[in-house]
């Protein structure tokens, strides 16, 4: 165990953990940040996605000590039930959820992409999401929601 300082959603957290433990379990079990989720533990499905310094990364295969000192953003930083982030509003408007378990990864991946490139084309969006799995197959609604968000951001 050792002391690790994490900068998450603009707050600093100090925790005493195994520095090799994957970030995902620290976020969920120590900090009750339930946005990132366990889906595969292999970096294959995207359920655990968080944004580190603007890049969407897989927290299930990221040792907690490796992100010390970096700005980490989780789903919790986006919006609340009362005041959803515009991206979440677009997903709600399009009813882009089956079970919704994968949607953390999809929304965080989309956010990282669109923050860098708001005018990403549909093909660029689809390719960015190819590393995410949506088993309920909401593909059509997800793509519509992201396009709706892009239009709102432009307007």
């Amino acid at each position: 165990m050792s002391i690790v300082n994490l900068n998450i959603n603009r707050r600093t957290f100090t925790i005493d953990v195994d520095p090799t433990a994957p970030l995902l379990y620290i976020l969920r079990n120590d900090l009750s940040l339930n946005g990132p989720r366990f889906g595969c533990g292999l970096g294959q499905c995207g359920a655990c996605t968080v944004i580190v310094e603007g890049e969407a990364i897989r927290s299930c295969i990221t040792p907690v000590s490796s992100v010390e000192g970096f700005a980490i953003t989780t789903l919790e930083a986006l919006g609340t039930i009362e005041n959803p982030h515009p991206l979440q509003r677009a997903f709600i408007a399009q009813q882009a959820a089956g079970c919704g378990y994968c949607m953390n990864g999809i929304m965080m991946t989309a956010k990282a992409l669109l923050d860098q490139n708001p005018r990403a084309t549909e093909i660029q969006i689809m390719e960015a999401l190819d590393g995410n799995v949506c088993r309920c197959a909401l593909h059509i609604r997800v793509l519509k929601a992201i396009q709706q968000y892009q239009q709102e951001v432009r307007a």
């Binding site: 165990m1 195994d18 433990a21 994957p22 379990y25 969920r28 079990n29 009750s32 339930n34 946005g35 989720r37 366990f38 889906g39 595969c40 533990g41 292999l42 294959q44 499905c45 359920a47 789903l75 986006l78 919006g79 609340t80 039930i81 959803p84 979440q88 997903f91 709600i92 009813q95 882009a96 959820a97 089956g98 079970c99 919704g100 378990y101 994968c102 949607m103 953390n104 929304m107 093909i123 969006i125 689809m126 390719e127 999401l129 190819d130 995410n132 799995v133 949506c134 088993r135 309920c136 197959a137 909401l138 593909h139 059509i140 609604r141 997800v142 793509l143």
Partner: protein, 775 residues
């Protein structure tokens, strides 16, 4: 911690709901309409043989079991059905809001809690609307009638002089005279007994009491509208999943599965994990092996490090040999609907005198639900009781299964359903609930169990394969005169009807399925076509792997075979594939929907394959029709002749569920079912070698990628005159034949083995080019 909603807390605060419903000294509204509550005892006269209905804690024949109105005007509905992400709870609210005449915003839903909700059977078979909603509709309509009767007494005018708006009853001629539902009954009981018309595995169907009528379509305010799913914002923003349940003192458990199929435990070396910080206990019972640690990452470490020696195992035939193997398997005597035969007319004579006969064998492999979130559950087992949090599709069976394993009376186990990953059938067998219960019992503390991705892919029960030999005969005019088939398949209810959980198998205490009245997937053919001469035999054999139903169990397999072979016959007759089918279908909604999808897709009437099929171009396109029993579909594909890659460009589908309760929700379900079906047909198969399953993650078992998303045109037809039908599964079956038929249209090559992977398509193209047989 999970956040409980307000009414959930109200419902459990101060008294148990069981006590409440047994009338433990609580306020009961006086009652005069039909069917006064009889003594507590519950008879189930309609319970058929083999239907296990020993769930009487929350009576299924009491209005109060389904509906409660609080003093503050909150309306709570209680359902045994769970919501795996389909939105059925929103539809329940729509029905109840309309039948009760209240704003939908007043309504909360409590689902799948064995201490709070009546038995709603299983949440499968897409029957949440036709069956699951029915007791709620009857309860709400009965409650409204009772409340109007009470209001009539209080306001001193006859019921027909009253009107209701959002729970406030007023006198039509004097709107200042009002009284609300919550003033009339808030916090109290109706005490009304409802009669069970019939029991199904999906819960009861209630009789509509005398003097009560359900609303007609023109009276609906919410039903028929695209009311957004209330759970979508919660799922997108909070994600209150079972995975988040954290109890004080909770430990983390992981399981170790046999190294090969059928292997048993030889020895386990605890010293290999004892030095891991936070290690609590190694749990071994029979071949069930688990580790429990204080923290999740510690449990993962222990799971990876524990040294276990397994026996050699029983072996597997290899997934490429599965269709040869299934023909040699012994008959399965457990399901009551097992082997089936069909005889109509004289097939031998008809085939003998046919101008043209076709012969084909079709093969559909093992399919895996590959639930996106691997199985998870939390159990808190104490000396005389247990509580389990699970995404189970069948809370009352999970309750019985856990009680059986723990040696507790059923009523001492409480199962609380919590939102989980979409499960498409898989959580009909909530394996993790049993795992967590065994581990929690062993350590005397709450334990959360999380399966790994590889465990979920390999060790979940899977949908069994289907193989069918077919012969068809055409007369000189190209008419279909004979259809002969022989099929081999296995029950989809090896699990998922209680029993059969992996933990039960591993500890060596499996009570077996609690009932299997129609559990087989005996595959007869061809569905609903009227053909003069038919002969067939369907063999139901012992499943190779642990089996379960997966989204439209048997449906996608049978549709693939029936509808691909029909396409072969149409092509042999030189007739347009849709025209050919219409010759053998009776008029009705099915034919109407075929017409809808035909027009919607701009279908050009001509035989398949198309003229470009013999071109040498790298990319060729084609269109195919697939009848999915309920959903009719046309698909347009592009085939890359160099790589064998099939791309679905777009698809059109048409469906009618009878009355459309929620148009956008229905469209969304059809989109999901269709896309998941396309994923299955193009890429998905459970693969195994001679000892173990080898499709164990998203690389070895890929699913449809976002860059492969087709355009989809969904046509839904509102037909309130027809019986209600479901939405969750029906979009899946037609995908398989529609895609296969489109590939044939594009290339002239017939694919008879799913999935249509690039390797398989390429091999079929090459065999075709060299003049060999199609695949």
């Amino acid at each position: 911690m999970i956040t409980k909603n307000k009414s959930q807390i109200n419902a459990v605060r101060g008294f148990s709901r069981r006590d409440l419903l047994k009338g433990a000294g609580l306020f009961v509204v006086g009652f005069s309409v039909s069917g006064v509550a009889s003594a507590a005892g519950l008879a189930h006269p309609a319970a058929g043989a083999g239907v296990d209905m020993a769930f009487a804690d929350i009576p299924i024949d009491q209005l109060d079991s389904y509906l409660a109105i609080a003093q503050d005007g909150d309306v709570t509905i209680f359902t045994g059905r769970i919501d795996m992400g389909t939105g059925n709870r929103t539809c329940f609210k729509q029905f109840v809001a309309d039948e009760l005449d209240v704003s939908i915003d007043r309504i909360e839903v409590i689902a799948g809690d064995t201490d709070l909700t009546p038995d709603g059977g299983k949440t499968t078979a897409s029957d949440a609307i036709p069956v699951g909603a029915q007791p709620l509709r009857v309860s709400a309509a009965t409650a409204r009638a009772k409340l109007l009767e009470l209001a009539s007494g209080r306001l001193g005018v006859p019921v027909d002089q009253l009107t209701v708006s959002d729970g406030v009853v007023s006198v039509k001629s004097d709107p200042s005279k009002t009284i609300s539902y919550w003033d009339l009954i808030g916090g109290g009981r109706f005490g009304i007994k409802l009669e069970v018309d019939r029991l199904t595995l999906s819960g009861p169907i209630l009789k509509i009491p005398a003097g009560v009528t359900l609303k007609t379509v023109d009276q609906y305010k919410y039903v028929g509208k695209s009311v957004p799913r209330y759970d979508v914002p919660e799922r997108l923003i909070l994600g209150n999943f079972c995975q988040n349940v954290r109890l004080p003192g909770m430990l983390h458990g992981r399981l170790l599965r046999p190294a090969t199929y059928g292997a048993t435990l030889v020895s386990v070396d605890e010293s290999s994990v004892k030095d891991i910080p936070g290690f609590v206990k190694l749990v071994v019972e029979g071949s069930f092996v688990g580790v429990v640690c204080e923290r999740e990452e510690q449990a993962i470490q222990a799971q990876e490090r524990l040294k276990v020696i397994w026996s050699e195992g029983t072996g597997l035939p290899g997934s490429e040999n599965v269709f040869r193997f299934i023909r040699t398997q012994p008959a399965d005597k457990r399901p009551t609907r097992s082997d089936a035969t069909a005889i109509k007319g004289d097939v031998a004579t008809a085939l003998g005198s046919a101008a043209k006969t076709l012969r084909a064998t079709y093969e559909y492999p093992w399919n895996a639900t590959t639930m996106f979130a691997p199985s998870c559950a939390v159990a808190d087992v104490q000396a005389d009781k247990a509580t389990v949090w699970s995404g189970t599709q069948w809370p009352r069976y999970t309750q019985k299964d856990v009680a059986f394993l723990l040696g507790l009376p059923t009523e001492s186990v409480r199962v609380i359903w919590v939102e989980e990953s979409g499960s498409y059938g898989r959580l009909g067998a909530a394996d993790a609930a049993a795992d967590a219960a065994l581990l929690s019992k062993a350590v005397g503390k709450p334990v959360r169990v999380q399966w790994t991705r590889q465990e979920e892919h390999a060790w979940a029960p899977h949908q069994p394969p289907l193989v069918m030999d077919l012969r068809g005969g055409l007369d000189a005019q190209g008419n279909l005169v004979a259809w002969e088939y022989e099929s081999w398949s296995s029950t989809t209810h090896d699990t998922g009807r209680g029993g059969g959980l992996l933990a039960m198998r591993l500890v060596g205490r499996d009570p077996g399925p609690r009932n299997t009245p129609s559990g087989a997937s005996a595959s007869t053919s061809p569905s609903r076509y009227i053909i003069p001469n038919v002969r067939g035999a369907a063999h139901v054999v012992v499943p190779l792997l642990r089996s379960i139903y997966m989204r439209s169990p048997g449906g996608i397999q049978r549709a693939f075979i029936d509808e691909s072979f029909m396409d072969e016959l149409a092509a042999a007759a030189g007739v347009d594939p849709i025209d050919f089918r219409l010759r053998y279908l009776s008029p009705g909604i099915e034919v109407e929907l075929i017409d809808v999808v035909r027009k919607s897709s701009g279908w050009v009437t001509r035989p398949s394959p198309n003229q470009n099929a013999s071109s040498n171009a790298r990319f060729v396109t084609g269109r195919g029709f697939g009848r999915g029993y309920e959903v009719q579909m046309v698909v347009e594909v592009e085939v890359d002749r160099e790589t064998g890659k099939v791309r679905i460009i777009q698809a059109w589908l048409a469906y009618s569920p009878g009355l459309i309760v929620n148009p956008d929700g229905l469209t969304n379900q059809l989109e999901q079912a269709a896309l998941q079906g396309m994923s299955r047909v193009l890429t998905e198969e459970v693969t195994f070698d001679n000892s173990k399953v080898t499709s164990v993650d998203w690389i070895t078992h890929p699913v449809l990628k976002f860059s492969e998303t087709p355009k989809l045109h969904v046509n839904i037809v509102n037909r309130p005159d027809l019986p209600l039908d479901g939405a969750g599964e029906n979009g899946t079956p037609p995908t398989a034949p529609a895609i296969g038929n489109a590939i044939f249209d594009a290339t002239g090559v017939r694919l008879r083995r799913a999935p249509f992977t690039p390797e398989r398509v390429l091999a079929a193209l090459k065999a075709h080019d060299s003049g060999g047989h199609d695949h």
